[in-house]
Structures are given as structure tokens and as C-alpha cells.
Symmetry: C2
Subunit: 290 residues, 2 copies
């Protein structure tokens, strides 16, 4: 009975392993990984061996594993993530200086917001998010902003399978979401009180790409007291306009609505994969059609 294939692809197994690492479990031993991933020990061992050779995981002197720097390098080439992040960062710093609370940048992925950047403040209110973390689109101000870009039927699709409940105020029905989104469309910004934590209020505005499409949401998390949000919205709005300007400057590939910073950086030194390798291809066929 040994050596029977499982019907699962290699890729998903590798990811099963990488996925068991989390912010709260960054260091794991072989047997922990095996148990958590549900893979047999010997299989886990073999796969980890190769993942380590490829530097996707690292092994520490005490034989525990952690995620490797190669993942970071790959992520750094993700346009619309690190690229957008780098463009937005200076403006976010401005926001953070003015508001002195958590400042966040998020994009949509499926039914979630993924946070690309977060600047925190020592005595800011609690914040539920981590860079790289995700949260339901329905449950955050940035999420509502991102949702406002979508047609009504897309909303219905997204939340057909329900909405995770974080607090008693997290919207649970499509109608509630639609109401919130409609308000965002009318006002041009989102204000979400206690959706993810009772004491927190999210305020967010859209960041638009060169063609007017919403590419990200920029927001802050402030205490949920009754304070007037309008000054905050003004600060966010100004920052968003600044980011949009930088985006236009960075924008170079008219064929690609989401090109963003993709072709912007021209480092003297390349990341691990040198573009030199591709000269013959370029030389032969002229320009890449990209």
C-alpha cells in the first residue's frame, strides 16, 4: 500500500506547507508542520527539504523551519502590491503625521481587503489588521470603498455565501452592504463604526488609477467617539490625490489598466533574475508586445 498517489497536485501540497506558517506561528518543527498540514511526516520532510533548497523556507540551527526570504523577493515583484505601496508610502506618512492613528492601504482580492501597508501609532486605538492580512470587504471602511467600484450584482455574488461576523455591528445581509456602499458612492468616502472592533471607527477614501478605476483604498482607524470626521476625510482626500498624481507619473503601459508601477523602477542592479538573460529574445523579435 506504500507509495500510493493521492490525487493532489504538487503545488497545492507545497502551499499546504507554506500556509501553516502564520504571524502567530512563524517557527515550526517538522512534526508540527506535518500535523498541521495533514501530510505524512516523511512526505513533509521531503517537501521541506526541497523548499529549503529553493530558499522558500529556512532551517534554523535548532532544526525548526521558518518562511524564507525568497518569498519576500517574489512578493517585491508583485505590481499593484509593493509597487503601489512604495508610491503611496510618502503620502501615507503625511496622513499619519496629521492624524496620529493607524493609517492603512488596502486592495481588493476576492471578497477580502488585503492590507498592503499599515503605519501605526504608539497610542492608537486597537487595530485588527496586519500588513499582508485580510478581512472581509463588508467589514471595513476601506472594504466599502473598494466595493463601491463594483456593480450591484457583483456584490450579490460576493456575499452570497454570507459575511463573517466580527462584532454585532458587522453587516450581515446584502441589503446592509448595499446601503453602506450606496452611501460611499454618494459621499465619496466611507465611515464605518465598530464593524470590526466596537471601539474603532474606520474612515477611508478611494485611490483611483489613471483611468479613474479604483485601485486601492486609503484609510485610518480612529477612536469611535463622536468626533467630526470631516477634517480627517479632508486629509485623506488630499493624500489620495497625491498618490493618484504619482500613479499617473509612474504609469507607462497604456495597454494595461493595472500596470501601475510595473515598469517604473529602473534599478542599476537587478533583483535576483537579471533581465540581461532575455536580450536575445528582445533583440530577435523587436519589442515585447507586453
Amino acid at each position: 500500500m506504500s507509495g500510493t498517489r493521492t490525487g493532489e497536485s504538487m503545488l497545492s501540497r507545497h502551499l499546504r506547507i507554506l500556509d501553516v506558517f502564520g504571524v502567530d506561528s512563524a517557527f515550526l518543527t517538522l512534526s508540527q508542520i506535518s500535523r498541521r498540514s495533514g501530510l505524512p511526516v516523511s512526505t513533509t520532510h521531503r517537501l521541506l527539504d526541497e523548499l529549503e533548497r529553493e530558499r522558500l523556507v529556512e532551517r534554523l540551527p535548532d532544526r525548526s523551519y521558518r518562511l524564507g526570504l525568497r518569498l519576500w523577493e517574489l512578493a517585491a515583484r508583485t505590481p499593484g502590491a509593493l509597487g503601489l505601496r512604495e508610491i503611496a508610502l510618502p503620502m501615507m506618512q503625511g496622513v499619519q503625521g496629521a492624524i496620529r492613528q493607524h493609517t492603512q492601504l488596502g486592495v481588493r482580492d476576492g471578497r477580502d481587503v488585503v492590507y498592503l501597508e499599515r503605519l501605526s501609532h504608539r497610542d492608537a486605538v486597537v487595530s485588527a489588521t496586519v500588513v499582508g492580512g485580510r478581512i472581509s470587504l463588508a467589514a471595513s471602511a476601506i472594504g466599502h470603498v473598494l466595493l463601491s467600484a463594483l456593480p450591484e450584482e457583483a456584490l450579490a455574488d460576493l456575499f452570497a455565501s454570507g459575511i463573517p461576523r466580527y462584532t454585532k455591528r458587522t453587516p450581515q445581509t446584502l441589503a446592509e452592504v448595499v446601503a453602506a456602499v450606496t452611501e460611499v458612492r454618494a459621499r465619496g468616502h466611507a465611515i464605518a463604526d465598530g464593524l470590526v472592533h466596537p471601539d474603532a471607527r474606520g474612515i477611508a477614501v478611494p485611490v483611483r488609477g489613471p483611468e479613474g478605476e479604483i485601485v486601492a483604498g486609503l484609510g485610518v482607524v480612529v477612536p469611535n467617539d463622536g468626533r467630526d470626521p470631516r477634517p480627517v476625510v479632508a486629509v485623506l482626500r488630499r493624500a489620495a490625490v497625491g498618490i493618484e498624481e504619482s500613479l499617473r507619473r509612474a504609469y507607462v503601459a497604456p495597454g494595461h489598466p493595472h500596470a501601475l508601477a510595473g515598469a517604473r523602477y529602473r534599478p542599476l542592479i537587478n533583483s535576483s533574475t537579471s533581465s540581461m538573460e532575455y536580450f536575445d529574445e528582445r533583440g530577435r523579435a523587436g519589442q515585447d508586445r507586453g
Copy 2:
């Protein structure tokens, strides 16, 4: 002759595909990827299909591919990268406010520096680096700082196969590197003039972990004029001390010299993989030995 296996592992093929994306080529079509990776078109197509299902790549409406957000999410769980970065960011902002040039944070990976964060300034001198990019340890001030943690014979090993030349001042021999590193050890900081670009000077200091080991280098890139570097060094030194303090606070797992921020963040909402799944394991065997 069809269907013959190649003797290459799945993982390396998948990575071959992911690796053809770069900061200067963020959007690629199937055939470009096939050519660049050296894989047959049909194979490339099949692999991309699965990579897309796993959200490691995304496909745009015009059928070109780009790296997906899942990579970003995985990278966000890399301790010592995003974790360290997040801890260091506030201090880096301080440095950048004072110096008004490029401020960079880098760690060692193999024979290279990998840059975890970079804050730029509008009218700063040219900079060769990108977040996520790498450069030879021998060719940067941060690199020299990181090298100063290693014993002499490790240096010999690292540069046995030569050093890439960026400018005429890039050190080329082991002796030159050793000289630079010795100076770093004596002074406690590194100053590198024109190693990577003739008009740029790098100034860097070490960032030490709770046990005194060097975990990162913090540096700036300033114009290569004759100006007195000591005030800059003082600013960097102060920032490094601040980062080290935050590191100590974040440091929670005594068994792990490199634990860093691994266990620090306790988000209310987890990243895609919920730790809830593992309750039975924890419940059964008590504490994870981690």
C-alpha cells in the same frame, strides 16, 4: 517521444515561471513566459493554470499574467522580513526626516544584501536599490556592516567565486573586503564611497538583536561630496538603538535567536489561514514546543 519526464522537480518548474517576472517585466503573456522560462508552451500553460487557481499569479482581461497577491500574503508572514521591517519603520521615518535622502534597511541572504525597506526622497541622489532587490554584500555600506558579523574564513568562502563589479571602486579582492570590514569593526559603522554608483556614498550602522547578534543593517545613501559624515552616523546610531529597543520588546521566544517579531502580532482577524484549525493539536499535547 511525447510525455517524457525531464528529471526536474515540480517546485523548480513553478519557480522558474514565477522568476521570469521582474520589476521591469511585471506583465507577461503565455508565450513570453514560455520563452523566458525555457519551458514548452503547453507545459507553461498548464502550470500557469494551476498557479492561477492558487492565486500565485493573476490573469488580466487581456490574457497577460502577473504575480498574484498570495505571494504578498505569504511574504507578510516571513519573520525577520516584514516583521523586522514593521518594527523598524517608525525609526526609519525619523532618519529620513533628518537626512532627507534614501533610507534603507537590509539583511543578509547568502552573498547578497536583500533590502527590506527603502524610504526615498524626491531630490535624493540616484539609488540602485528596490525593495526586495539584492546587491552584493561587498558593494554596499549595509553589506559591509552585515559582513562585519562574520568570521574571516566565512568572508573567504563568500567571495571565493568573485565579486560583481558595479563601478571601478567596487572592491574586487578578498583583501579589499577584509580591509573594509575591519574598519567597520573598529568604527562601528560603514562608509562606502561610489561602490555601486560613482556619485553615491553609503553610510550604514548595524542593528543588533536581543543577544547582540547583527540582524540587519540600517543605512542612507547620500551624495558623494566631501561632507562630514559624523552627524549622519549619529542619527543612524540613535535610530538603530531605537529599533533594538523595540526588538527587545517584541522578542518573546527565548529558544529562537532569530525569533524577532514572529509571535508579536496578535491580530483580532487572522490572515487567510486561521489558527483555529489547530486547536485540537494544541489541546491534545498541551503547549507547542516552538
